[in-house]
């Protein structure tokens, strides 16, 4: 155990971005190497007064060593947990199209009323509710939802389905201006081809503006984010420019690594596939629909484009604020993630640790489907493109992380993917 703790301390001293700030702590006070690791981080605050390091974590070898080719196992529902205790209020804010819920017709905005016949709002059978909402098996469970004034019943069985990272790609003819809209949910490997297909279509249709809906996109593969940024900006704006420079601590400058804007698809060996140049809209400005769930690689797209003087308008609420990253390191059956680098754009900027504030603040209204022209954030984006003005004034009321919402209809979702996460409803 002492060796494990010594390894953890050594790992932090060598690899952690803020290694100079880590206090000297007596390892013997900590029962495990993991609990010792948990406190070996900077006490510094970010620009919003929160912890600078909100990202320090570790996981077991079994949790780490899980691979997929874009398959998930759950109902495919993301819940906005407006109230976790009675009277409970869970509303669907996102549905995976190929999942059990997506195929059955569950929609964003559906409010959970009953689970396996148990009153979800005030029921006292917590075991029954948790078994249904967060099952540990793949048994069928019945759900009653309220949609508008209607009550809808579904029987859902959690199971494997293919993720759909690129959704809702279309070109909107907005009074003669062709505006591309793309709902992009995650930077996974299969998104390369889906993004190429979407941007090729946008290009063919002559789109002159782009609204990129990444309100729930928590990031993923950085090379995909570089490709996406290229497809927005094009060659003339991005050639020879830095998309994201990863800067490590001063003990390891040779690890610094630069992502330029990647102009090609990558082949199976991660070489440029010169037969597949990426499509591009060559835009001077882009509008992103964002939220607290917009994080990491998504924010790298925002920062990378800003760094080459592309105007980036943000509609929604403040993004997560994660200009950092790490590569896990394993020891004695556990993998440790300590912040190792910050990501700078072409201008050397990386100071968005409290997130990017929106250009126009607009709440997420679950009564509207994503891509609906009346959906308030998309509507605001289209309006802003025409007038350059917000219909709402940005205020200081942007919610802090985790602040519960009381409204049942207009909410900023608190994400929770149903199934196999250690979350429970409460009495």
């Amino acid at each position: 155990m002492n060796d494990e703790k010594a390894w953890v301390r050594s790992f932090i001293d060598e690899r952690y971005l803020w290694y100079q700030d880590v206090p000297a702590l007596d390892a013997s006070y900590f029962a495990t190497a993991a609990s010792y690791f948990d406190v070996l981080k900077t006490p510094a605050k970010n620009s919003a007064g929160g912890d600078l390091d909100r990202f320090h974590w570790s996981e077991t070898k079994e949790e780490y060593e899980q691979y997929t080719n874009g398959i998930s196992v759950d109902y495919g529902i993301d819940w906005s947990r407006i109230a976790n205790s009675a009277p409970r209020n869970y509303v669907v804010y996102n549905v995976e199209p190929q999942s059990a819920a997506g195929l059955a017709g569950v929609q964003r905005g559906d409010k959970l009323m009953k689970v396996d016949g148990i009153d979800f709002i005030n029921g006292t059978d917590l075991t029954g509710l948790n078994n249904g909402v967060f099952p540990n098996d793949q048994a069928a469970h019945s759900f009653e939802f309220q949609r508008g004034t209607a009550r809808l019943n579904f029987t859902l069985q959690a199971g494997e389905y293919a993720n759909t990272p690129v959704r809702g790609a279309k070109v909107i003819n907005d009074n003669g201006t062709k505006v591309a809209y793309l709902y992009f949910d995650s930077f996974i490997a299969k998104s390369q081809d889906q993004l190429i297909a979407a941007f090729t279509d946008f290009q063919k249709q002559g789109a002159k503006e782009l609204v990129l809906d990444m309100r729930y996109n928590g990031g993923g593969l950085l090379y995909i984010s570089s490709q996406l940024a290229y497809m927005v900006a094009g060659s003339s704006a991005s050639s020879g420019k830095i998309f994201n420079k990863l800067v490590y601590n001063d003990k390891r400058p040779s690890d610094n690594f630069t992502y330029n804007f990647i102009p090609y698809a990558l082949n199976a060996n991660y070489y440029y596939d010169y037969a597949r140049p990426l499509p591009s809209l060559n835009l001077k400005r882009v509008t992103l629909l964002v939220d607290h769930g917009t994080a990491s690689a998504s924010e790298a797209v925002i920062n990378g484009l800003m760094g080459i003087d592309i105007t980036v308008n943000l509609i929604g609420s403040t993004t997560y604020g994660k200009p950092y990253g790490f590569s896990p390191e394993g020891n004695c059956g556990r993998y440790y993630y300590a912040v190792e680098f910050k990501g700078e754009n072409h201008k050397g900027f990386s100071s968005f640790d409290a997130g990017f504030a929106p250009t126009c603040t607009v709440k997420d209204d679950l009564n509207f489907q994503l891509g609906d022209l009346a959906e308030p954030r998309l509507a605001e984006a289209l309006q802003y493109l025409k007038t350059g003005r917000c219909t709402t004034t940005p205020t200081a009321s942007i919610k802090a992380l985790g602040t519960p919402e009381q409204s049942s209809s207009v909410v900023d979702p608190k994400p929770a993917r149903a199934l196999m996460i250690p979350t429970q409803v409460h009495p």
Partner: protein, 128 residues
């Protein structure tokens, strides 16, 4: 950036350099696709992928190999209590697995290492 997309970590660089040395001889046989995907074939493929990658768990849609000769495997990303991906700025490149037909056998090859496993249950055919 030069023609070779830069790869993320020292470990991967070493792995890819090794594979570059090995790949001077292309993997034997021809790229292949699955003709049909049976449950037995899916199970065998999953087990073979676990052995190649050392993974504790592999979730795949083997149907992808009926449309393409390659399978891209990436780590499942953990999420925090708010549903935000923990590893959201990921430098690690996904593993590329190729299905090949050689000497009357169907096998999968991990391109980063050149390691392979023969599939007994798979019904596959070479593709041009």
């Amino acid at each position: 950036m030069n023609a070779r997309h830069q790869v993320p970590s020292a470990t991967l660089i070493i792995a890819l350099l090794l594979s570059a040395c090995q790949s001077s001889a292309q993997p034997q046989g021809q790229a292949a696709r699955l003709r049909t995907v049976t449950e037995a074939a899916q199970q065998e493929l999953t087990q073979a992928l676990k052995e190649l990658t050392g993974a504790a768990q592999v979730r795949i849609d083997a149907g992808q190999l009926s449309q393409s000769s390659t399978l891209t495997l990436e780590r499942t990303r953990s999420k925090d209590a708010n549903g935000v991906i923990m590893q959201g700025a990921d430098r690690e490149m996904p593993e590329i697995i190729q299905l090949r037909w050689a000497a009357g056998q169907c096998k999968i090859v991990q391109l980063s290492t050149g390691k392979s496993r023969v599939l007994q249950q798979a019904d596959c055919q070479s593709v041009p």
